[in-house]
Symmetry: C2
Subunit: 168 residues, 2 copies
């Protein structure tokens, strides 16, 4: 049995596939943004992004102050740039943590997944934007720049995904 | 004759060297962040970042509303992540534009550098933060994640650069 997954979420899951690290931007009070790289477990079939972090980390604190989060992804080949925006909640969910957990994480969290300091950041993605640069282009960066600066389609592809229909 | 360049700026210039594209995050009124990839000309010796854009682009408008800008960089090897924060001004400076301009840009801005629609975004960087992941690590991603999540030095290096002394 396959769960129904909206096309926009399926597309986003493809777009971030194989990109293990995203730059998470949070906003402290006063409007100053702060970014840091985070290991990402992809986008789930409901359009959520999950991170494991420490309850007392700066990111957990900032998301408690302001739940708006932006996560940027860049493929190693430089041919895909994705920016997603959503609302984050910091939760302790042992069932989900067990699902996300894998044995290699013990070297980062030596106390294991039962460490009460561990929490999950769950970001409900509202929208995503992406920029695709044709790989075959010799002047790849030139193509990227063109797509970026002018937004013209011929230099690559740029699109916007709305992940949830808005309820007015 | 060599101009004096503070150590923090020299370090940042090294850190973003060879990374041609950064993700620029701006903030619209209402606090919603918006990111997009931008071609970057590196950090200059005064600690400024420069982009060429269109006077009527969304980024120019958003920076006019709120000049706070964050730019994230990721090396293609995945061994360097840099996040810089600063204040942006949108300017038309023909001398600087001529310096930044190169002939290949004509394919993105077909009217050339004299096009009155072209403006420069100049970001005065206040601070930068970086995460270095040792290349030799076989489990590179594991190392990255450890540095990210725990901030421990043994898994890589993490540092903060203050680019300008604050005048109290």
């Amino acid at each position: 049995m396959h769960a129904y997954v909206p096309a926009s979420i399926r597309r986003l899951r493809q777009l971030v596939k194989g990109i293990p690290v995203g730059m998470l931007t949070t906003h402290a009070t006063g409007g100053v943004a702060h970014s840091r790289p985070m290991l990402v477990n992809g986008v789930d079939e409901s359009g959520w992004l999950w991170f494991i972090t420490d309850r007392h980390s700066r990111k957990a604190w900032e998301l408690g102050q302001n739940p708006q989060a932006t996560i940027s992804f860049q493929s190693t080949e430089g041919d895909r740039y994705v920016s997603v925006h959503g609302t984050a909640v910091v939760v302790r969910d042992n069932v989900k943590l067990k699902k996300l957990w894998n044995p290699t994480m013990r070297s980062w969290f030596p106390k294991g997944r039962r460490d009460p300091e561990l929490v999950l950041v769950a970001v409900r993605i509202d929208s995503a934007e992406y920029w695709l640069v044709p790989r075959r282009r010799i002047a790849r960066i030139a193509g990227a720049a063109k797509a970026m600066i002018t937004g013209r389609r011929e230099a690559g592809r740029h699109g916007v995904l709305d992940l949830h229909e808005r309820i007015a």
